[in-house]
């Protein structure tokens, strides 16, 4: 009798300890990804009827900070259809600003923003009887700066991370080049330096670093310009056309929030729960 009781207490004690430890580990795992996430619920969740459940499910997330910035981008696809030269302007502005190398071989290719067909940007939305305008024109795609980025979750060294403004950035000096983030990105937004990129940079911009071989890179929403209060290079290249509107999603009075309020927008593959920050008016 006594022995049974002792055994019971032993087992109960150990399982309690294991239970406590286990929860702590799981909490840490989830918290690492969701700290930044929580701070943006205020601004972002409102537009995302379907996604509101996701942040709520992680009940322990830190309190939302309504003062934090959260940058986003609205792309008016119609304007890119009307003026096909606009896309090339954006792409070239990006290449020049960020010293993006241009290779002859597609295998080496590096791209931050590029023009593609609707069916490639939105493969989860196929339509056999698509309108001619959509069928025959292209739209720009880039990193979505997800609120819940799978690449950040996958990176084993925190070389890719989400900063306090909601931008998903890269530390080129910490990246070990394992390319786990490239496998994890559901939008194909990441590129790898398969060889030394420097000889292939056509016009060198001395205000932005070049990269070395063996590291991953991608669109940064021009974090270095945004920090100075300027617009990202692609948005700037669109000029007065308003084909791209960049701004703080957490500021209810910002222009981007006004545009989002007035137009029906969609995001790339939202069913994956990544909460992209790039919105498309189609």
């Amino acid at each position: 009798m006594d022995k049974n009781r002792r055994n019971f207490l032993k087992v109960a004690g150990i399982s309690t300890l294991a239970g406590l430890g286990g929860t702590a580990v799981v909490d840490r795992l989830v918290a690492g990804v969701n700290v930044a996430h929580a701070s943006t619920e205020g601004g972002h969740g409102a537009e995302q009827g379907g996604h509101e459940a996701a942040p709520a499910a992680h009940g322990h997330a830190a309190a939302a900070d309504p003062n934090a910035n959260r940058y986003g981008l609205v792309i008016d696809v119609k304007k890119f259809y009307e003026d096909p030269s606009l896309g090339e302007k954006c792409v070239q502005a990006c290449i020049k600003t960020h010293n993006i190398p241009e290779f002859d071989e597609k295998k080496d290719e590096i791209k931050w923003i590029w023009m593609t067909n609707y069916e490639n940007a939105f493969p989860e939305n196929p339509n056999k009887y698509r309108d001619e305008e959509t069928e025959s024109n292209q739209l720009p795609i880039m990193c979505n700066h997800c609120d819940n980025p799978p690449c950040v979750r996958a990176c084993p060294t925190k070389a890719t991370f989400r900063n306090e403004d909601g931008l998903v950035l890269m530390d080129y000096h910490r990246c070990i080049g394992c390319r786990f983030c490239m496998a994890a990105c559901p939008y194909g937004s990441r590129s790898f330096n398969w060889r030394d990129p420097r000889p292939f940079v056509k016009e060198l911009n001395r205000d932005f670093p070049t990269r070395m071989r063996g590291v991953v890179e991608k669109c940064t929403f021009c974090a270095e310009l945004v920090e100075k209060g300027q617009l990202p290079a692609c948005v700037e290249a669109c000029g007065e056309s308003k084909a791209m509107v960049f701004g703080n999603l957490n500021d209810p009075n910002s222009e981007i929030r006004k545009v989002l309020k007035e137009n029906h927008t969609i995001q790339r593959n939202p069913s994956l729960g990544t909460l992209p920050s790039v919105f498309y008016i189609v």
Binding site: P123, R213, G214
Partner: protein, 390 residues
């Protein structure tokens, strides 16, 4: 005990020299890759993992397969495995060393590898994979060495070693589970995003690992006068048969889910791997021959290891059957699984991957290094065995 590896007949040295040649070639190829970058491989931004990571994935399975000897011997006290458990442990060591070499070969910045330790990131599965792989490697080195030393001195192994032996069992399962989690937790890659990946990995590992051990045992019987014992071999073959069937059952389930649900994303990679995928008027099918060879070799291998005549009466055909199973599952996991997962890309394009010669030589060289280490370790183990018998 290392001195035992330095005494061998001329075939032993010829075999090591043969492997050494490929190792030397691979060293030169790796230096080329190191100074040029991974652009010397066939990988691109669309197929961002190639042969290196696919070999790594397969070899984690081979390493885990050793547990199919350790578990029956230490947990179920299945005495017949006593003599060959060490073969499983040493196979795990060399397979894990190959895994680590493949990872290093795949890194864009290999000198920064330690960043995984300097900036530990628990929400990355790669961090956990590093933990369990290193853990399993150290456990096998400790257990294998201590038990072999005890055997040589003809004393019972120290009690404390059993603690590590028992820990190594869940570790074996964990290495392949965590390796599966590298893939099955990624959103937007339909082929990998399947809860059956981890069990499927384990099933194919528990067939491929023991299959290689049986082949090795048959070779050792011929060249090193080492008899693993009929009972042990037959029991291993039974394990291989069930594990191989489980793997094929899981593959079949993937087909059912994909094709019965008729969801394009779930079918695309399977179509690409087995039938060729049509895309804008072009059929992409460069992996189709490998996949049908996988199916064919599975049936050939199963026939040879199930049919009593070939299974019990002929060492040669038994070894051939096990080799067929091993190669079959290498085609499945070491080729199709990783490379197929990148087709189509997230932006619905299809880019086919062809490894370059440089990449192939590095891959062959790492395999050769693994077999070099395995040969030396087996040489030591068997010399000890012979010494004790004498």
């Amino acid at each position: 005990m290392f001195e035992k590896a330095l005494k061998g007949n001329k075939y032993y040295w010829m075999w090591l020299a043969f492997l050494g040649f490929f190792i030397a070639v691979a060293c030169v190829c790796y230096l080329r890759q190191y100074f040029y970058g991974l652009g010397l491989t066939g990988m691109s931004r669309d197929v961002s993992w190639g042969l290196y990571i696919s070999q790594f994935t397969f070899l984690v399975g081979v390493a885990a397969g050793g547990v199919m000897l350790v578990l029956p011997y230490y947990i179920h006290n299945f005495k017949a495995f006593g003599k060959i458990t060490i073969l499983g442990e040493f196979l795990a060591i060399s397979a894990l060393l190959m895994c680590l070499m493949f990872i290093m070969a795949d890194l864009g910045q290999p000198l920064r590898g330690l960043n995984v330790l300097f900036h530990p990131t628990p929400h990355s599965m790669l961090f956990w994979d590093m933990c369990v792989l290193w853990g399993y490697l150290l456990l096998n080195i400790i257990c294998g060495w201590v038990i072999l030393t005890a055997e040589r001195k003809q004393v019972a192994p120290p009690k404390w070693i059993y603690f590590f032996v028992y820990i190594s069992i869940p570790f074996a399962f964990s290495i392949h589970t965590v390796t599966a989690m590298l893939y099955c937790g990624l959103p937007g890659r339909h082929f990998w995003l399947s809860a059956i990946i981890a069990p499927r990995f384990l099933a194919s590992a528990f067939a491929a690992g023991p299959a290689l051990i049986v082949v090795m045992a048959m070779i050792l019987k011929r060249v090193a006068n080492f008899d693993a014992g009929k009972e042990a071999i037959q029991k291993m073959v039974t394990i291989i048969i069930y594990a191989a069937i489980a793997n094929m059952f899981f593959v079949g389930l993937e087909f059912f889910v994909g094709f019965y649900s008729n969801i394009p994303g779930h079918m695309h990679t399977l179509q690409y791997l087995f039938f060729g995928l049509e895309h804008h008027g072009h059929v992409y099918n460069n992996l189709v021959p490998f996949m049908w060879a996988f199916i064919l070799l599975f049936f050939v291998g199963m026939a040879l290891i199930c049919y009593p005549k070939t299974r019990k009466e002929s060492d040669f055909w038994l070894a051939m059957g096990c080799l067929a199973i091993f190669v079959s599952f290498w085609l499945d996991k070491g080729i199709g699984f990783v490379l197929g997962g990148f087709v189509p890309t997230p932006v619905d394009e299809i880019v086919e991957y062809y490894p370059t010669l440089n990449e192939l030589f590095i891959t062959i060289g790492i395999w050769a290094t693994g077999f070099f280490i395995l040969t030396v370790l087996y040489k030591i183990a068997i010399s000890v065995e012979h010494e004790v018998e004498a």
